[in-house]
């Protein structure tokens, strides 16, 4: 605000800060607020970036001259494995998630994400998981079979140490944060936009993040499944990827790249979202072709799931498949080109103001286009056969990832810095940082294309002199160090700006999006009142919002019952539907994450008794968390008499949406498991299908019928007959099903140590028992909640949340019976 806030405004601000602020001192660890959690993600991610960069410096030092032995082969392998792992899993994804978590509520006019405690849990899982993975480097037992962990190199026979376990367990632990961020962002974007912000009026950034979050939901589960299977193979001797016993190492490659390729777009989309946000602002006009961009985003999301095989063109798969994936890989150029030309058209039609963030956007355009074009080259199979796994690919990949992610990220950092600090970045030092980085980057990686064409393979720790690679490598290393100086300059610039930057005027870049209506530096609650949005560019078309929001002229301008709340709206039209009350500072996330870290560590150390203890404690913590939820008096306010109902008194609140999105991820995991079965059966060289399934048909059918009966009884409860007795009966019948299923599984006498067939069946049974058990447990909990009056005929919200889980559990049960029992029987055993 240009004028000082009025006394009334200041008083309102103080009231909001009391409710929304973090606790002082160590209590800040209980913070769940998206601003705090988002910034923590960003700062932690940047710290991991520095670690990853340091590893890159060591790699470039070793490769600077031929035949050097500064770093031996084993350590070098650890370094490049960790460089890739840290940059991908601990920097790129979390940082972008953090940026999205920070920005999304502010851009869509909400006060927080809809599951604040989940954000905090995700953060701690990320932090602890990242530290566990990094610790392996300091103990010099880091994973060393590449960030792609190809089996059998990563299997216990060829990587006997703990390195691979660190990777598999640590990454899976970190993935909890990705999935939780995915769920949270999808539901928040769909259900908590400011009233009137229909999908059509949503800022493009939110479209990009929605696509990214959905891609996380569908992209990460294959990797999680693959990691779990590989860890089972390593730790328990089960068979999935070993040829002997009926596995196939190619299954790992499929699962890995089923994740790995979408992941590239998971990284690119939010970055492109930053570009699509900045370009219109600096061109001083709305983006040209909003619908085209939305279309391109959606197309990218879909196509990116059809590309994974282009990482596997040299494994000897059928020609037809190669042609298909080759065309699909090239087709991704279409949505990319649409976006590039939309940006170009916007700049063309606008009057461009050239500030520091724009410099990084231009850097992005140059570097990324270059990387995209070499990507088209590599999608051509006969060319790929030559250049695959050479330094040409290293160069291409860095052009795409650094160009497509880091340049826009830094542009965004500079652009939103004033939002956090209230100060403007320096112009001169920022320019120095950019040029050093840009020149260093191109010096390193442009030359590296030629290094690859001259035949230098990837992942070699040294090379002979006289192969034509000497000068190229030396220059690449020098360029790498110039780039490092650039990074240091940018960091120094940002640190200094907090002290010396000049004060930013309100909405310093004259932007159109709502986050700039928040007084700077940022507060804890975003908006003192939540406005009605009437345009795609609220701050351009409704400039009065800059004053009227902090002046409390819109909705929810009063704190009621001392609680945090925001508006829930219709997923499509954006009409206000309910008041969402949100949790305040809480310790559950930290406690749960710490227990999960204990579980992860005890699995690493193979102390399985301890692991069971931690798993049980983590489950208890989760149940406790879920208990203090919904209509529990510590969570839900008294019923209010406003125009909008409280979400916990509706039947379709965010919890139900969260459940459905989570089940989409869960279903993808299950589908990946089906893929594994249907892949190994015809393809694995030593696959053995027994004449008759070891599972008892009658056991499975009987147990399944009991489950169907439980579902019928449950249905009546959800339909309105809510009672302690009724829910108790559902729980009891469900329990009978669980016991019958457990007995059937036990009775089968599976030998997963001997055959891939039995291993997969064992995993499927464990999956089914887990889901049945969880569903029954949560239903049992409802018995008590009905008794406490948190759920009732008039307040069926929690049953509605649980309802999709019941449907899912029954569905996966019968699909499993069909695919794992009926299908082999139909095609005759022994095949």
């Amino acid at each position: 605000m240009s004028q000082a806030p009025s006394a009334e405004q200041q008083a309102r601000h103080d009231r909001f800060e009391r409710v929304w602020g973090n606790r002082p001192g160590w209590g800040a660890l209980s913070a769940v607020n998206h601003t705090t959690v988002g910034l923590r993600f960003l700062v932690t991610g940047l710290a991991f970036f520095l670690v990853g960069g340091l590893l890159a410096m060591l790699i470039r030092t070793q490769l600077a001259l031929p035949e050097q032995e500064i770093i031996g082969a084993d350590l070098y392998n650890q370094l490049f494995t960790m460089h890739g792992t840290v940059m991908m899993f601990l920097f790129a994804i979390p940082v972008l998630e953090g940026a999205a978590m920070y920005l999304i509520p502010k851009m869509i006019g909400a006060r927080d994400l809809v599951f604040p405690r989940l954000s905090a849990l995700g953060y701690f899982c990320y932090l602890f998981g990242g530290l566990i993975i990094l610790s392996s480097l300091f103990l010099q037992i880091a994973p060393s079979s590449g960030w792609f962990m190809y089996t059998p190199l990563s299997s216990s026979e060829f990587s006997p140490g703990m390195g691979s376990d660190f990777w598999l367990l640590g990454i899976t632990f970190v993935e909890i944060s990705a999935i939780s961020a995915g769920v949270e962002l999808v539901v928040s974007i769909l259900r908590s936009r400011a009233p009137g912000m229909s999908l059509q009026r949503m800022p493009l950034f939110a479209w990009y993040i929605l696509a990214m979050a959905l891609m996380i939901i569908f992209g990460f589960p294959p990797l999680i499944l693959g990691s779990v299977l590989l860890e089972l193979e390593r730790a328990a001797g089960w068979v999935f990827f070993a040829v002997e016993g009926g596995g196939d190492p190619l299954l790992w490659q499929h699962l890995f790249w089923l994740f790995g390729h979408p992941e590239v777009y998971i990284i690119f989309l939010p970055a492109a979202g930053i570009v699509s946000t900045l370009i219109p602002v600096f061109a001083g006009r709305p983006i040209i072709g909003y619908r085209w961009v939305v279309l391109a985003i959606i197309m990218m999301g879909f196509v990116s799931f059809g590309l994974w095989v282009h990482h596997m063109f040299t494994v000897g798969i059928p020609q037809m498949a190669q042609a298909f994936f080759s065309v699909a890989s090239m087709l991704v150029a279409v949505p990319t080109a649409i976006q590039i030309f939309v940006w170009l058209a916007t700049l063309w039609a606008g009057k461009v103001r050239f500030h520091l963030p724009m410099l990084w956007v231009m850097g992005f355009l140059i570097v990324f286009v270059c990387g995209g074009l070499t990507g088209v080259m590599l999608a051509l199979v006969p060319f790929n056969w030559q250049l695959h796994d050479t330094h040409f690919v290293v160069a291409h990949m860095h052009y795409v990832l650094v160009g497509g992610m880091l340049f826009p990220l830094v542009a965004g950092l500079y652009y939103w810095l004033p939002h956090v600090s209230g100060r403007m970045p320096s112009d001169s030092m920022g320019r120095w940082g950019f040029w050093l980085f840009f020149i260093g980057f191109n010096m390193t990686f442009l030359l590296m294309h030629l290094t690859g064409l001259l035949g230098m393979p990837r992942r070699v720790y040294t090379y002979e002199a006289g192969l034509g690679w000497d000068w190229l490598n030396l220059l690449s290393s020098v360029g790498g160090f110039v780039m490092a100086v650039g990074v240091a300059t940018v960091i120094l610039d940002i640190v200094l700006h907090f002290r010396f930057g000049r004060r930013a005027a309100p909405n310093p870049w004259q932007a159109d999006t709502l986050e700039w209506a928040i007084p700077m530096p940022v507060n804890a609650y975003n908006f003192a009142s939540i406005p009605e949005i009437r345009s795609r560019h609220p701050l351009w078309d409704q400039p009065e919002l800059m004053q009227s929001i902090p002046a409390g002229e819109h909705r929810l301008s009063r704190i009621e019952d001392g609680r945090r709340d925001t508006i829930g709206s219709d997923a499509i039209s954006g009409e206000a539907r309910e008041v969402m009350h949100l949790p305040s500072n809480a310790w559950e996330p930290l406690v749960t994450a710490a227990l999960l870290a204990g579980l992860c560590l005890s699995l690493l150390l193979k102390t399985y008794t301890l692991a069971v203890v931690f798993a049980v404690l983590a489950l208890v913590a989760c149940l406790r968390w879920s208990w203090v939820n919904g209509l529990h008096p510590r969570m839900a306010p008294r019923d209010r008499s406003g125009e909008l109902p409280l979400h916990s008194r509706t039947t379709d609140g965010p919890g139900r949406w969260g459940m459905i999105v989570t089940l989409m991820a869960d279903g993808t995991l299950f589908a990946s498991l089906l893929f594994g079965w249907l892949y190994l059966w015809p393809v694995a060289p030593d696959w053995q299908m027994p004449e008759q399934s070891p599972l008892s048909v009658w056991g499975l059918l009987g147990s399944g019928l009991v489950l169907a009966g439980a579902l019928g009884l449950w249905w009546r409860q959800v339909q309105g007959a809510v009672s302690v007795g009724g829910l108790g009966l559902v729980t009891g019948v469900g329990l009978v099903h669980c016991i019958a299923l457990g007995l059937t599984a036990f009775d089968a006498g599976l030998a997963p140590g001997n055959s891939a067939h039995d291993s997969i069946l064992a995993v499927v049974l464990a999956y089914l028992i887990f889901h049945s058990g969880l569903t029954v447990l949560l239903t049992g909990l409802q018995v008590f909640r009905v008794r406490h009056g948190y759920t009732s005929r008039a307040l069926p919200y929690e049953l509605r949340v649980l309802h999709p889980l019941w449907g899912y559990t029954v569905a996966v049960y019968w699909i499993s019976v069909a695919v794992f029992l009926a299908l082999p029987a139909a095609f005759g055993g022994g095949a």
Binding site: F158, G316, W348, P457, R458
Partner: protein
Amino acid sequence: MLPLAGCSGPLSALDPAGESARSAAWLWWGMLGLLGTIMLVVFALWFLALRRGPAKTEADAGRTARWWIIGGGLVLPMTVIVLILAFGIPLGQRMLPLPVAGGEPLQINVTARQWQWQVNYPDTGIRLTDEVHIPVNTPVDLHLASDDVVHSFWVPRLGGKLDMIPGHTNVLRLQADEPGTYRGQCAEFCGTGHAHMQFRVVVHDQAGFRRWQQGVRE
């Protein structure tokens, strides 16, 4: 043949000595020319876009935009894709181990293990390590397998690479134009010995190849 002197080297894919490698090198120069031009044009357009003034009217802006988006976002990439595939697919087809008119190609089995190459000629029973001998101008089918982890067989001057995967056998067709010695290198990361997992391919003229076979057998 060689547009640049700096492109030669014992492992250079740009210094081809076999048909597959030559096709790949041509694809490289062709795509570099085509895509490089597109890149420069796009950069130039941006530069112009930054310099020029704003559009006069919103209708003007809309027209330009449609032109840019349909031309640059749809027509351009589709044309480029069709063009690249039209050249690339036939060239790729010729690299495959298709039946050879008038006879069977020479079969050589190569089994990789950490960190060496076991070479075996099934018709003569000759066994070698880290060395492959082939006759010039003759199609050769390398049957590639692995005893332990994934490796990849690659002789850049002769042709593309193919992975060697436990439990699978892949067939790579190579054909050399001129006698000489060519270097090969494992291209899939396979552990601490990866960098040094090399081999050589010795290409003999026909008579020389027969002499070599006899010499080994004696």
